[in-house]
């Protein structure tokens, strides 16, 4: 019997999203874009939790997803506030130009 999309597809999609997030974090140079990449990674985590949770017929994974969402929102708020102060003091959002602290 064929039911909905198999678990592995969701996991592969989740892994691809996570990989895109990591790649964005490593290669992008704009602070906001880098920050968005982190959110993308967390969303990949959410997808994988929901897929597992659905497969296992449990609610634990869904609950975890709620917490990841809230954590991501809190992180976004704190992060944007910090990025704003950086911008206020330097008037740039290029990550390479924010480099006073060096060896």
């Amino acid at each position: 019997m064929t039911t909905a999309v198999p678990l592995s597809w969701y996991l592969i999609l989740s892994a691809i999203l996570f990989g895109l997030g990591v790649a964005g974090f490593v290669f992008r140079r704009n602070i906001i874009t880098v920050f968005m990449s982190i959110e993308l990674m967390l969303n990949a985590v959410n997808l994988s939790f929901v897929a597992f949770s659905y497969q296992l017929r449990q609610t634990d994974g869904h609950i975890y997803t709620f917490f990841v969402m809230v954590v991501a929102a809190a992180e976004a708020a704190v992060g944007l506030a910090i990025i704003l102060t950086v911008f206020k003091n330097r008037a740039t959002l290029e990550i390479d130009e924010v480099s006073d602290l060096k060896n």
Partner: protein, 131 residues
């Protein structure tokens, strides 16, 4: 029961086709049938009928960010109300007390930002020394 993925997803495929046909039909129809007038006013971006002023690439006030940030924070807390509402009958008084504590904690934060002046749209920027 559907036997294969092709069969299972045929309705989805059909829906996509219909959606594309409707959208394409509307655009194509108006292209073929409509009258074409070109002038400067017609080429300006549509902004609810009001003549646009200034460039769209200008910098926004930082207050928009602040409100957006606060909105995200308080909005996302509502996500916990859904599972709570689902099990409310089962847990009875316990659920009520738990949510009460949760809301009180959020109100603490709300009271804090209110007193800090983050909600006053018209207020001038405070000097940093002021508590």
């Amino acid at each position: 029961m559907p036997e294969s993925y092709v069969e299972l997803y045929f309705p989805v495929f059909l829906q996509v086709l219909i959606a594309m046909a409707v959208a394409g039909g509307m655009i194509g129809g108006s292209y073929l049938l409509g009258r074409k007038v070109k002038n400067r006013i017609k080429d300006t971006p549509y902004e609810c009928g009001i003549t646009p002023t200034g460039s769209a690439r200008g910098r926004f006030s930082v207050k928009f960010y602040l409100v957006a940030m606060l909105f995200i924070l308080f909005d996302i807390e509502a996500v916990f109300l859904y599972p709570w509402a689902v099990v409310y009958r089962e847990l009875k008084l316990f659920a009520f007390v738990e949510m009460f504590i949760f809301i009180v904690l959020i109100l603490c934060g709300f009271f804090y930002i209110w007193k800090k002046g983050a909600l006053d749209w018209s207020q001038q920027e405070r000097p940093p020394e002021e508590r």
